[in-house]
């Protein structure tokens, strides 16, 4: 036990390794494919929560419209899969064979121009990241260059989420309307609906999540990460230290959007459809709740928060469907009031000191001190440290 505690407390990668073991070994071994697929779906939300840790937790930019980017990524992937599923042979009974079924129902007789490039898988992969990132860039430039921030920015992102939902629902012939893009079957001839495919997609999803986690960790540990913290505290001072604040905000917002979009694309692949219900205000706010519960300053906390809330949602709403929303609301308010840094904050304050105590018991006195504030030139685990100082501030 002490060895284990020692490992967790000392090794800077231990938390990442534990998450990897959980996601890559324990869950796949202990669950049937139905449940595992469900976990895979939840993990796609974790991408969004991770993006929120970067732009909200560190950058102080609260976006209530992250569903937009999740949705755009998902729609890009869905368009490719839909085109493949709508081969002329499969759609021979339509009045215009070779176009998606919902277009045919809406009296469209040819594929709209913006659907054309999605015949190519390479372009689709590019678009999954590029479309949401460019969209985020436009919003960010328009807002941050004018120094719009805080609540105003949150409201505007929420409005964008609402507008995009309305647009998608309204343009039924081009987007599949309120049903979304459904009946997706194969990826380059590979049937994504089989159990085997679901396993593979689960692992691809987990792998991509880890890549995003590493990217996020890299950004947080870089000087840019410290600048984000500095900007959150005193934007003016950053400006007078010679930085163009808006550039950094635009960057982190676009990065968060791109990460969310990867989640969206993986959602489409694993669940087999994409619809406007994942774009609008409600999912966007749910994502913020996942992030807040997990701890908005912890990239791993975002993953655990997402998994826990969704697990609770599934089990709770199976028995009391009408009570779930109230429960989630109460949970959110409770956590934010009592533990502003979420689960990660609780872990940092109560569990980590315990582990350190355990690990120190049988150890030489030369052990490094826990509050590693002393080694500023070796700020490897910056993420945890920033959290502790944030904790102290709130305490």
């Amino acid at each position: 036990m002490n060895k284990f505690a020692d490992f967790i407390a000392r090794n800077q990668y231990s938390h990442m390794i534990i998450l990897a073991v959980l996601l890559l070994v324990i869950l796949p071994l202990s669950m049937d494919i139905f449940r595992l697929n469900l976990v895979g779906k939840y993990l796609t939300y974790a991408f969004v929560a991770l993006g929120l840790v970067l732009c909200w937790g560190y950058g102080g930019i609260l976006s209530l419209g992250q569903g937009v980017f999740f949705g755009l990524g998902g729609y890009c992937m869905a368009m490719f899969l839909k085109l493949e599923a709508s081969s002329p042979e499969n759609t021979a009974i339509q009045s215009t064979p070779g176009i998606p079924d919902f277009m045919d129902w809406n009296q469209l007789t040819e594929l709209p121009w913006f659907w054309e490039p999605f015949h190519s898988f390479g372009f689709t992969l590019f678009a999954v990241i590029a479309v949401p990132a460019v969209f985020a860039f436009i919003i960010a430039v328009a807002m941050f260059k004018r120094r719009v921030g805080g609540v105003y920015f949150a409201i505007i992102t929420q409005a964008v989420a609402a507008i995009l939902t309305i647009l998608i629902i309204g343009q039924q012939g081009y987007t599949g309307g309120v049903n979304g893009i459904t009946d997706l079957r194969t990826l380059h001839g590979w049937d994504i609906r089989t159990d085997e495919a679901k396993y593979i997609l689960y692992y691809i999803n987990a792998l991509l999540l880890f890549i995003c986690l590493f990217v996020a960790a890299f950004v947080i540990k870089s000087k840019l990460g410290r600048l984000l913290v500095a900007m959150r505290e005193s934007e003016e001072r950053v400006r007078f230290s010679g930085y163009d604040v808006s550039g950094f905000k635009i960057f982190i917002f676009c990065l968060a959007a791109a990460i969310s979009a990867i989640g969206g694309a993986m959602f489409t692949l694993q669940v087999g459809f994409m619809s406007p219900t994942f774009v609008g205000i409600v999912p966007s706010i749910e994502m913020v709740i996942f992030c807040a519960l997990g701890g908005r300053l912890s990239i791993l906390g975002a993953v655990y928060g997402t998994l826990l809330v969704n697990w609770a949602k599934t089990s709770f709403s199976e028995s009391f469907p009408e009570l779930w929303l109230f429960a989630m609301g109460a949970l959110f308010i409770g956590v934010v009031m009592a533990f502003p840094n979420g689960l990660a904050g609780i872990y940092q304050r109560y569990i980590e000191p315990l582990l350190l105590k355990l690990s120190k018991k049988d150890d030489s006195p030369s052990a490094p001190t826990p509050a590693a504030k002393d080694a500023s030139s070796d700020k490897a685990d910056n993420n945890e440290e920033t959290l502790t100082s944030e904790e102290r501030k709130h305490a």
């Binding site: 950004v219 410290r226 001072r237 007078f240 010679g242 550039g247 504030k373 100082s389």
Partner: protein, 254 residues
């Protein structure tokens, strides 16, 4: 009282402010103000509350946009530039209340102010190399915080926070340093240390200081400018200004 009547060499002005006016809803906080600062000069701006002292600094550093007039720094027009461009041009500004990053350590505070990696990619791939560490340590020693590098900035005393902010400016190595009440809230011994610090750091740059503490002003100033209602009331050596009847009337004499 210290005599500060340095002979003024006939050099080009580092900073020349001409006809500067800013109007907030009709109220002219600064009204047709002209001010010239020479190289390596320590200029102190004094004046009663509401005279527009802080506004002048705000205008120079780009925090407030001028309604009329021009601000030339080494021949470069500043009124058209953004805050960070003005910093890049070589103007540093210290605020009245210590404005530092409380969540970061002293080291990190200084490091963020180090003039490298100031764009997104530069910041992302910024490396804490020997040059940065050495410079940070050098500055930290200069501002009396050499043994506090790893202290979180929110644990510093008020005076130490003021020094840290001065240090954050020094590491940028600006040619014009603007300080808004650098000794406000400091103890007597801290004031002495700060005056000493200012003397050392002003060797190779021009400094513009706002200060109320007359003893401190007399200690550091080459020349003094008195502002009143957004205009220059008097200008010259401390002695001259103090004996100017107009100044005595509005400010010193109460």
């Amino acid at each position: 009282m210290l005599e500060s009547t340095k002979s003024i060499p006939a050099k080009d002005f580092v900073l020349s402010v001409e006809g500067l006016t800013v109007s907030f809803d009709g109220f002219k906080a600064v009204n047709d103000l002209s001010l010239y600062v020479e190289e390596q000069e320590i200029r102190v701006i004094i004046g009663p509350n509401g005279a527009g002292k802080t506004t002048v600094l705000d205008l120079i550093c780009g925090r407030t946009k001028a309604t009329e007039g021009s601000i030339k720094f080494k021949g470069k027009e500043l009124t058209k530039l953004n805050e960070h461009q003005i910093v890049h041009a070589g103007v540093g500004r210290k605020f009245q209340n210590p404005s530092i990053y409380e969540d970061l350590t002293v080291f990190e505070n200084l490091e963020l102010s180090f003039p490298r990696g100031r764009n997104v990619w530069g910041a992302l791939f910024f490396r804490r190399d020997k040059e940065v560490v050495d410079k940070v340590k050098e500055i930290a020693d200069m501002i009396f915080l050499g043994d506090k590098l790893d202290t979180s900035a929110d644990l510093l005393s008020h005076g130490q926070k003021q020094w840290l902010e001065i240090g954050m400016l020094l590491i940028q190595d600006p040619e014009l340093l603007m300080l808004d009440e650098p000794v406000a809230g400091m103890s007597v011994s801290e004031r002495k240390q700060t005056a000493d610090l200012l003397h050392r750091i002003t060797k190779d740059r021009s400094v513009l200081v706002i200060e109320h503490d007359m003893q401190f002003v007399a200690d550091i100033a080459d020349r003094v400018t008195v502002l009143h209602q957004g205009k220059v009331l008097s200008e010259g050596s401390m002695d001259r200004v103090q004996s100017d009847p107009k100044v005595v009337e509005v400010y010193l004499g109460h």
